[in-house]
């Protein structure tokens, strides 16, 4: 596999959704290819950073208004 072919499968690779054989082919390539290793490391870190971003807190006033409009809708719906 060359760098271009590897590139296409990297999201599946970091999500561990590839067949064992393809995984091994990618790992063999990564052993010898510094740049592809960097892309894998930084791609994985990018996904981790986004996944670990704390959820946006639901403000109390937004929640109150939501429940209010739902009650209104129910009554008049």
């Amino acid at each position: 596999m060359d760098c271009r072919e590897i590139f296409e499968g990297l999201s599946d690779y970091i999500d561990e959704e590839l067949a064992d054989k393809t995984c091994r082919e990618i790992e063999n390539h990564l052993k010898d290819c510094y740049n592809c290793r960097v892309v894998v490391n930084t791609l994985r870190q990018t996904v981790t950073l986004y996944q670990e971003t704390p959820s946006e807190e639901l403000p109390g006033d937004v929640r109150m208004r939501l429940h209010k409009v739902i009650r209104l809708q129910e009554k008049h719906g």
């Binding site: 960097v38 791609l43 946006e56 739902i70 809708q73």
Partner: protein
């Protein structure tokens, strides 16, 4: 009788029979997740609140039409994703076109295959990667994704849905979801790389 937490489907049945408390429970169960989804899609509180209200009002209006072919949460995410996309399209700011976006992804790909050595910023200390300025760069990068990529990103990498469920929510094939996911991740990676390495990767 044992005090057990009702399932989503039990609450839906109770709502159809006019149960106000059941509706409150169901909204309370999902409101935080839907608000977070809306906020990540739209990037500000006002729009996120509109999407949150639209989503649950649509749920109340169309709950009789909900068929249990898919789970309630899949159906709810579909309603929420549609509300968020509708809101995005109403805003005057034009999205980067898909063509422009893909050009950028491919040029990054080419750069990665060039001879120069890339900089590996992935092992920098967490406090540097997670500081306020970095967060701002991360938020800006999301806002640059065309909407059809952004919605895949938010469902998969923010909400943590499996690719198969994202496909069901959006009415796409799994390969189409994975392809979009991969492109948007490459784009986000290149944006963070630019920031963490001063434009050298």
């Amino acid at each position: 009788m044992e005090d057990s937490v009702p399932t989503d489907e039990e609450l839906v049945t109770a709502i159809r029979e006019g149960g106000t408390e059941a509706l409150e429970s169901l909204v309370t169960r999902y409101e935080k997740r839907i608000y977070n989804l809306a906020y990540r899609m739209l990037g500000n509180r006002e729009d996120a609140e509109d999407v949150l209200q639209d989503t649950f009002l649509n749920v109340v209006r169309s709950i009789d039409g909900f068929k249990s072919r898919s789970s309630f949460s899949t159906w709810l995410y579909r309603v929420a994703a549609n509300a968020a996309l509708t809101r995005l399209r109403q805003r005057s700011k034009r999205d980067k076109s898909e063509g422009e976006f893909l050009d950028q992804v491919y040029s990054v790909q080419e750069a990665a295959h060039a001879q120069s050595r890339l900089v590996d910023w992935s092992n920098r200390p967490a406090e540097r990667l997670l500081d306020g300025e970095a967060r701002q760069v991360m938020d800006e990068a999301i806002s640059e994704l065309p909407e059809i990529y952004r919605v895949v990103f938010v469902l998969r990498d923010v909400e943590g849905l499996p690719a198969s469920e994202v496909a069901e929510v959006l009415g796409l094939s799994i390969p189409a979801v994975k392809s979009r996911l991969h492109r948007e991740r490459l784009y986000l990676r290149s944006k963070l790389s630019d920031y963490f390495t001063g434009g050298s990767a």
